[in-house]
Structures are given as structure tokens and as C-alpha cells.
């Protein structure tokens, strides 16, 4: 019997090694797999490359991971925010490498990896600092920049419900990067608010089919104080 449910957070992330590239879902804190990040902090992997839209908020979650100084590089679109002080200090101190990617290019480079594409031509960023030194091409009169896929060893994502085959549905805008990151990583670990029996998820409404998910970890929904 196939059972992708892993009961312990620690066990779910135990095989993440030094030097791994890890995608972390979430847009700000919506969809951020905070418990999986805490489990990653609790183990000792270092020299990590992290892919996320942002670079941490406040002092918890991704920000707490950065604070351990075990992240050598972050690939993101919007690091600077009102509460990104952890990243800001590391960046100004030269202690973290930043690859800044326009948000839609981040999304389609992740999608390209998941879809097995070798590269993509995107119109976004053409003529800007973020395309400097990159190959360009004019196709049907429009200008494009060549961008390569972003692949990962692991994706840590947060979904609403999952079953033992790894099928997932999400909650509202917490979906954001989850479905595309799940496809781009060799091993996708999804924390879910609820594990449901096979068949409980409407097959017409499953957002991430289980083939893209290797581990499902149930988390009690956190009682969330208003920010």
C-alpha cells in the first residue's frame, strides 16, 4: 500500500543535505510552510540555496532560517519589505548571495523545470538591468530574454488537504507557488492542515496530483493571531 504520509516533521526533512537547493512556497506568510521550515532549522544542513518569492518576514519562518546563516544564496523577486530586517542585514554584510528575478520569470522558470523544458524565452525584463548579459531574440517582432529553468532538490510547500497518494488542495491565496514548486523539485514535501481518506478529494478539483508529491505531513492548523 502506498502511503506518503509522514507523521513527524523531523523525519520528513531528515535527508536534506548540505548544499541542497530548496524551494519554499508562500507569498509573504500566506502558504509559507512554517512548521517544515522550523524542522529544517532544527536539523543541520547548511550551504543551502533557497528559492522563494520573498526573503523572509519578521523573525520567524524563512527569516529564522536565514538567521542561522546556513543559506548561501536566495533566489527571489521581492526581498526588501518593511519587515525583512534579517535578510537586509545579511545582504548588507555580504553574508548572502541574492539572485533577483522578476516574479513572473521566477514562476515560469520554475514551471519550465517542472515541465522538462531546456529554457524559455520571456518578454519580461527585456532591456532592463535584470537581463544584462543574457541572450535575447526577436520573435515575430517582439523581444525576448533567454532564461533557464530553476530546479530544486526539495520543495517545502503548504497545502490545505492531502491524501496518502499525495493529492493536494490549497486554501485561497495560500496556493501561490505550491503547485508549480511541487512539479520542479525531485522531492516535494507538503505540510497539510488535514489528511483526508483517498477519494475524499473531488478528482475534478485536485490542484496538485500526487505524482508531484513525495511526502505529506499533517499539521494542526495554527491558531493565527492577526498580524
Amino acid at each position: 500500500m502506498i502511503n506518503k504520509i509522514v507523521d513527524s516533521l523531523a523525519a520528513a526533512v531528515a535527508d536534506i543535505r548540505d548544499g541542497a537547493t530548496i524551494m519554499i512556497g508562500g507569498f509573504g506568510t500566506a502558504g509559507m510552510p512554517a512548521e517544515l521550515i522550523d524542522a529544517l532549522i532544527a536539523q543541520s544542513a547548511r550551504n543551502l540555496t533557497i528559492v522563494n518569492n520573498n526573503a523572509g518576514n519578521g523573525d520567524t519562518g524563512l527569516a529564522a532560517l536565514l538567521k542561522t546563516k546556513r543559506v548561501k544564496k536566495i533566489i527571489c523577486s521581492f526581498p526588501r519589505q518593511a519587515d525583512s530586517h534579517v535578510f537586509d542585514a545579511l545582504y548588507r554584510g555580504g553574508e548572502i548571495e541574492l539572485e533577483l528575478v522578476p516574479q513572473g520569470n521566477l514562476a515560469c522558470r520554475i514551471e519550465a523545470a517542472g515541465a522538462g523544458l531546456g529554457a524559455i524565452f520571456t518578454p519580461t525584463g527585456y532591456g532592463t538591468l535584470l537581463a544584462e548579459g543574457k541572450e535575447t531574440r526577436t520573435i515575430d517582432g517582439r523581444n525576448y530574454v533567454l532564461e533557464y529553468p530553476i530546479r530544486a532538490d526539495y520543495a517545502l510547500i503548504k497545502a490545505h488537504k492531502g491524501d496518502r497518494w499525495g493529492n493536494l488542495v490549497y486554501n485561497k491565496t495560500a496556493r501561490n507557488f505550491g503547485p508549480i514548486m511541487a512539479r520542479a523539485a525531485k522531492c516535494t514535501i507538503a505540510q497539510v492542515n488535514e489528511v483526508v481518506p483517498l477519494g475524499a478529494l473531488d478528482p475534478e478539483a485536485i490542484v496538485t496530483p500526487g505524482i508531484f508529491v513525495q511526502r505529506v505531513v499533517p499539521i494542526a492548523p495554527a491558531a493565527r493571531a492577526a498580524a
Partner: protein, 214 residues
């Protein structure tokens, strides 16, 4: 001459958004346009983090932190609204499915180049988000900004001195003084606030203005 305030600017932009339009309102000043959309029009607001049919802010105490906008503030979903992932969200932009996006700006050039993501200051931490995708993706790009900087420098210029977000992507500029259309011939004045003369507007603008077609 009375400059428009930010609400008046938002109301002016809102007037140009037609029934049935799919619209993305950028973070900051453009967000205010939502408050002035005519109630008798059905307009679809898209938020890049993954929703279409975005409604107003929830009542205090009813916030759902899984239901936020691009500015990471809690919002609501209108009946008929939908959620989607980032691949779909940016396909909506890059694929030319959005009718209008409204963006703030540091500078706009006479040929419609937009600079709104980075001051270029050496100590600044750059952040881009969806600005470059919106700039080149929407069918029409409206810029909404003060006509001049606080110190009186022109924000509408011959050539951007700030790093650009997109090339020749802006269609219209809504400022506290005027509405300008970017045309192949140059910047055409669509309208000016009452009491302002074209030569005065020109003096506050860093690129030549074409007179409005009668």
C-alpha cells in the same frame, strides 16, 4: 490652479476603466483606484498572488491571512471570484489577458519607458516583484503618479535616468496636473486641471508635449 489630490487622481483613473475590464492595480497609489470604480460596472480586479474578482478589505476581526492581496493586506473575494497559482497568474499578465494595469512610477519617458522598481542607489536593496511582468504584459499600462517630485523635478522625462522596468510600455499617464497619452509622435495632452495653461504644464514636464487634438 488646484492640483488634484490622491483621491481625485484615483477617481480620474477609475473613470477610464470600462465595464468588463480585467484590471491589476499596483501596490501603493494605484490601489486607491478600487475605491472609485463605478458601482454600476462589473470590473474584475486581479491580484498577482493568485486571485481574480478581488473585493474590498474585510471588516475588522474578519481578516483571513490566507486571503491577501499583492501588498499582503487582507482582502475579500467577490461571488464568482477564483484562486489560482503563480504560473496562471503571470500567464494572465505575460499572455496579454489583462486589459489594464495601473502602476506607480519614479519616471516615465516620452516614448513610454517606465522606471518604477529601483532607484539605482548603490546602497539600495533591489526588489522587483511583478512590476516588470505587469509593465510588458497588460494590454494597456496606465501610470499614476505626481507630475513632479517633491523637490519639483520632472518625473516625465526624455529618457529615464532610473533603471527601467520596461521599454515603451506605458500608454497613459495620470498625474495631479494632467492626463497624457503616449503616442508614436510624442506625449499628447488629453486634459489638464482647470486653470493650468499648456506652457505651465510644459515647464513642469521634462519632454515636449503635443497639444490635445481639438
Amino acid at each position: 490652479m488646484n492640483r488634484m489630490n490622491r483621491d481625485q487622481m484615483a477617481a480620474r483613473v477609475a473613470r477610464d476603466i470600462p465595464e468588463g475590464a480585467y484590471v491589476n492595480l499596483g501596490i501603493g497609489l494605484p490601489t486607491r483606484v478600487a475605491n472609485f470604480l463605478p458601482k454600476d460596472r462589473e470590473i474584475f480586479l486581479q491580484s498577482e498572488n493568485g486571485l481574480l474578482g478581488m473585493g474590498p478589505a474585510p471588516a475588522k476581526g474578519a481578516e483571513d491571512w490566507d486571503l491577501i492581496n499583492a501588498g499582503k493586506e487582507p482582502v475579500t473575494l467577490l461571488t464568482g471570484g477564483a484562486f489560482f497559482h503563480h504560473g496562471d497568474s503571470f500567464a494572465m499578465m505575460r499572455g496579454g489577458h489583462l486589459d489594464i494595469c495601473v502602476l506607480g512610477a519614479f519616471q516615465v519617458s516620452a516614448s513610454g519607458d517606465l522606471a518604477n522598481w529601483h532607484t539605482g542607489a548603490p546602497d539600495a536593496i533591489p526588489a522587483v516583484g511583478g512590476a516588470m511582468d505587469l509593465a510588458i504584459g497588460a494590454k494597456k499600462v496606465f501610470v499614476m503618479m505626481e507630475h513632479q517630485t517633491k523637490s519639483g523635478e520632472a518625473k516625465i522625462v526624455e529618457r529615464c535616468t532610473y533603471p527601467v522596468t520596461g521599454i515603451a510600455c506605458v500608454n497613459r499617464i495620470y498625474t495631479d496636473l494632467a492626463v497624457l497619452e503616449v503616442t508614436p509622435a510624442g506625449l499628447r495632452v488629453v486634459e489638464m486641471i482647470e486653470g493650468l495653461r499648456l506652457d505651465e504644464l510644459q515647464r513642469r514636464t521634462g519632454a515636449p508635449l503635443l497639444k490635445a487634438a481639438a
